[in-house]
C-alpha cells in the first residue's frame, strides 16, 4: 500500500489513520478544508487520489467521483452505503467495499438497549434522581419489556441479531422484509403496515434505498399507536421525522428510541422535553472493539485491492 493516495472524507478512529500511515499511505483529509473549499481541494489533489474512505457522515457522491479520474476504490467505514453513489461507481468500474458482520452485534445491542431504556425510562429515571426529585416521591411505573411483541423491519444480518437477542426476553418476533425468510419461528407480515399493526416495539433495521425512504410514515406510526414504541437504528430518512415529532408530542405514539436522525447532528428540539424518547448520537457501531475491527477490514480491503487479490467484503 506504499504511497497509495487515500482520501479520508471525515475524521476517523485514530487507529485507522495510524495504520494507513504505517503502511506508507499518502493521506488526504477532506475535512481539513472548509466546506466551500472542498472542491478546490479535490481538484488540486485529484491525480493522487486512488482510494476514498467514506462513512455515514460523508461518503462518495456523484459530484466527488466526477472530480476524481483516478479513483479505483471506495472503502466505506460503515455497512450502509446510502452515501455512496453506487450507480456512478458501477459506470466507472470503481470497486466498493463496506464493513458488514463486524458491527452487527453492536448495532443489535444498541437496538435492545434503546428498547429497554425507552420502555423502562432509564435515562429519564436517571435525570429524576440527579434532580433530587426522588426525595419528594417515587417514579411512576414503567411498562415491562419482556414478552413485548417485537416487529423488525428488515430481517438482514442486523435484524436477525436483534431477533435472537429479543428472543432471550421471551419476545415474540415478527418481521417484514422484501421477501419471506426461512425462519419459521418468526412471523412474516407482507407489508410494513401489517407489521406495525401487530407489534408493540417496531425496529427499523433495513438498508436505506429509494424503496425504504420514509418507510415509517404517519400510517405506520398510527398503527403502532399510543402504547407502541419505535426504535430506529437504520437511517434518519427511514422515518418521517416531522410526523414522528407530532405523534410523540401529542401522545399518539408511546415512545421512541432513536440513534439516527434526518439532519444529524441536529435533532428536533421537541424531543428534549419528552421522557419517553431516548436519543443517542449515531453510536450504533461506536465501540472501541468494533471500530478497530471495522478499521482492520477497511485496510484489508484496500490491501487486497492494491495486491490484486479478491476483496474481502465487496459490494461492487
Amino acid at each position: 500500500m506504499e504511497s497509495l493516495g487515500v482520501l479520508l472524507t471525515y475524521p476517523q478512529f485514530p487507529y485507522l489513520e495510524q495504520e494507513l500511515l504505517r503502511r506508507g499511505c499518502h493521506l488526504l483529509r477532506l475535512y481539513d478544508s472548509p466546506k466551500n473549499d472542498q472542491f478546490t481541494f479535490l481538484h488540486a489533489n485529484a491525480s493522487s487520489i486512488r482510494a476514498v474512505i467514506g462513512d455515514t457522515h460523508v461518503g462518495a457522491d456523484a459530484a466527488m467521483i466526477d472530480v476524481l479520474p483516478d479513483l479505483e476504490i471506495v472503502a466505506s467505514f460503515s455497512v450502509g452505503l446510502d452515501k455512496v453513489d453506487l450507480v456512478k461507481c458501477k459506470e466507472r468500474g470503481i470497486r466498493v467495499t463496506n464493513t458488514p458482520d463486524v458491527l452487527t452485534d453492536d448495532v443489535a445491542d444498541l437496538a435492545i438497549g434503546l428498547a429497554i431504556a425507552v420502555l423502562r425510562k432509564i435515562p429519564a429515571a436517571d435525570r429524576f434522581v440527579r434532580s433530587s426529585a426522588w426525595k419528594k416521591g417515587g417514579y411512576p411505573l414503567t411498562t415491562k419489556f419482556s414478552g413485548k411483541k417485537v416487529g423488525i423491519l428488515g430481517l438482514g444480518r442486523i435484524g436477525l441479531a436483534i431477533a435472537k437477542q429479543a428472543e432471550a426476553f421471551n419476545c415474540p418476533i415478527s418481521y417484514n422484509s422484501r421477501s419471506e425468510k426461512p425462519h419459521p419461528n418468526y412471523k412474516y407480515y407482507p407489508t410494513p403496515l401489517d407489521l406495525a399493526s401487530n407489534c408493540e416495539v417496531l425496529v427499523v433495521s433495513c438498508a436505506l434505498t429509494n424503496e425504504t425512504r420514509l418507510i415509517v410514515n404517519r400510517a405506520i406510526i398510527d398503527a403502532l399507536g399510543p402504547q407502541g414504541v419505535l426504535i430506529n437504528i437504520g437511517r434518519g430518512p427511514h422515518v418521517d421525522e416531522a410526523e414522528l415529532v407530532s405523534a410523540l408530542v401529542e401522545g399518539r405514539l408511546g415512545g421512541a428510541g432513536l440513534d439516527v436522525f434526518e439532519n444529524e447532528p441536529n435533532v428536533p428540539e421537541e424531543f428534549f422535553w419528552l421522557d419517553n424518547v431516548v436519543m443517542t448520537p449515531h453510536v450504533g457501531s461506536d465501540t472501541v472493539e468494533t471500530s478497530k475491527a471495522m478499521a482492520d477490514l477497511v485496510i484489508a480491503n484496500l490491501e487486497a485491492h492494491v495486491m490484486g487479490r479478491p476483496l474481502l467484503t465487496p459490494v461492487l
Binding site: D106, D109, P123, W134, G147, P265, T280, P281, T287, E289
Partner: protein, 380 residues
C-alpha cells in the same frame, strides 16, 4: 406511556391507601358475614396485614373475605396476606394469630419470615416465585447495556446540544465477549444470565453453593469472580452474609476497567468505598438501582459521567404488580381448595411452598396448584 398520557394503572403510591372496611367486608361483592359470625363459605377469610390498593382490594374481595387485624375474626383466620417489606412473620405474630396455617407474601424475598418457626408450627409459606424476576432482569440488562454503551450519558450529551457543538460522542465498549460475574444465581440471576448469553457475554457466578442445573461457570470466591470479570451484577438476596459483599477488596479485584450493576439492595455495596473508587477512577462505571440510604444518593455521583442512577425501579411495572395479585390469589385458592374448613388438609407444612406459574409468557397463568419445593437455598 408518554408524558402527556399518564397510564391510569397502579402506582406504587397507591399501595399506601388505607384499607376501609365495613362490617360486611369490603369490595363490591356480597361478603356478608353470616349469623354465626363466620364469613361465607364461598369467600374464605383472609387476614390482611398491609394496606391494599384499590386493585388489590377489589381482586381479593371478589374471592375472599378480607379480615383486618382489628377484627375479632382475625384470631380464627387460617390464611394471611403480608408483604416482606412491611411485615415480620415470627413467633410473636404467629402467637398473635394462632389459627394461621398459610402465609402468602407479595414479595419474592422471605428474609423477614422465620421459616423454621413456620415449619415447626405447620404453617405453609408461599411467595411470588419468579413473578418479579423478568422485570428485574430486564432492568439489570438495561443498566448494563447503558453502562457499556453510555446510553444515558450520550442522551444527556445530545440534550445539552453537545452533538452539534462538540461533535461525536466518545466510543463505548462492546458487550460481546465481556465476562459477566453474577453474584447470586437465583431466579433473577438466572434470568439475567439467560439474557446476557444472547449478547455473547461469558457468564460466571458466585453463590453460597454451586447450582447443579446451571450451565455457567461457578466461582467459589467472590474476589476470584471480581478478578475474572469485566462486570459484576449483584442479584442475591440481602442477608447478614451478603451485607457489603461488594467491599474494597472486591472493588480492587474488579479493577479500573470494571463495571458494577446493582439491582439487589443498597447494602450489598460498601457505598462510601464505591464512591471513593469512582472518584479516584479505580473502577470504570456503575449502574445502580438501589442505594444504602434511599432516597438519598451520594451527591458526588450527581457530577459523574460514568454512573447511571435509578430510583429503585427494577420491579415496578404495572404488569408485575398485576401478576403479583393474581399469583397471591392463586396461592390462597390452592390452600383453601386443599384445606377446606372441617378437613385436616393434605399439607403438613414440613417444607414451605413456592407457587409457580404453569405457563410462561408476559401475562402468564398463575399456578393452579402449588408444589412443595426445596426451601431457602433456591431463593438465593
Amino acid at each position: 406511556m408518554g408524558t402527556r398520557k399518564t397510564p391510569v394503572t397502579l402506582r406504587k403510591e397507591n399501595m399506601n391507601f388505607s384499607l376501609s372496611l365495613t362490617a360486611s367486608g369490603s369490595g363490591s361483592g356480597s361478603t356478608t358475614i353470616s349469623s354465626d359470625g363466620s364469613p361465607p363459605l364461598d369467600r374464605p377469610p383472609v387476614l390482611v396485614l398491609l394496606s391494599l390498593s384499590d386493585a388489590w382490594s377489589s381482586a381479593l374481595s371478589a374471592k375472599f373475605t378480607i379480615i383486618p387485624p382489628s377484627s375479632p375474626l382475625s384470631t380464627s383466620t387460617r390464611a394471611v396476606l403480608i408483604s416482606g417489606s412491611v411485615n415480620r412473620v415470627d413467633s410473636t405474630l404467629l402467637d398473635q394469630y394462632p389459627s394461621l396455617r398459610c402465609v402468602v407474601t407479595t414479595s419474592a424475598g422471605v428474609n423477614t419470615i422465620n421459616l423454621e418457626e413456620c415449619r415447626r408450627r405447620g404453617v405453609l409459606v408461599a411467595n411470588v416465585g419468579e413473578t418479579y424476576s423478568n422485570d428485574v432482569a430486564d432492568y439489570a440488562v438495561g443498566l448494563l447495556i447503558d453502562a457499556f454503551r453510555r446510553l444515558t450519558m450520550s442522551d444527556r450529551y445530545l440534550r445539552n446540544g453537545l452533538w452539534v457543538s462538540r461533535g461525536d460522542y466518545p466510543l463505548g465498549s462492546k458487550l460481546g465477549g465481556k465476562r459477566v460475574g453474577i453474584v447470586g444465581l437465583g431466579s433473577i440471576g438466572s434470568a439475567i444470565a439467560k439474557r446476557l448469553e444472547a449478547f455473547g457475554c461469558k457468564i460466571s457466578y458466585f453463590s453460597r453453593k454451586p447450582k447443579p442445573t446451571a450451565n455457567y461457570k461457578y466461582v467459589p470466591n467472590i474476589i476470584d469472580l471480581a478478578t475474572k470479570s469485566d462486570v459484576l451484577v449483584v442479584s442475591c438476596s440481602l442477608t447478614k452474609e451478603t451485607h457489603h459483599i461488594i467491599n474494597k477488596q472486591v472493588l480492587q479485584a474488579l479493577g479500573k476497567e470494571g463495571i458494577i450493576i446493582n439491582i439487589g439492595r443498597g447494602a450489598h455495596i460498601d457505598e462510601p468505598e464505591l464512591v471513593r473508587s469512582l472518584v479516584q477512577g479505580e473502577i470504570k462505571g456503575v449502574g445502580l438501582d438501589v442505594f444504602e440510604n434511599e432516597p438519598n444518593v451520594p451527591k458526588e455521583m450527581f457530577e459523574m459521567e460514568n454512573v447511571v442512577l435509578t430510583p429503585h425501579q427494577a420491579v415496578f411495572t404495572p404488569e408485575a404488580l398485576s401478576d403479583v395479585i393474581q399469583i397471591c390469589i392463586a396461592n390462597f385458592e390452592a390452600f383453601f381448595a386443599e384445606n377446606r374448613p372441617g378437613t385436616t388438609g393434605t399439607t403438613t407444612g414440613t417444607d414451605y411452598c413456592i407457587s409457580r406459574r404453569t405457563q410462561e409468557g408476559d401475562q402468564g397463568r398463575c399456578a393452579e396448584s402449588y408444589q412443595t419445593l426445596k426451601p431457602a437455598d433456591d431463593l438465593v
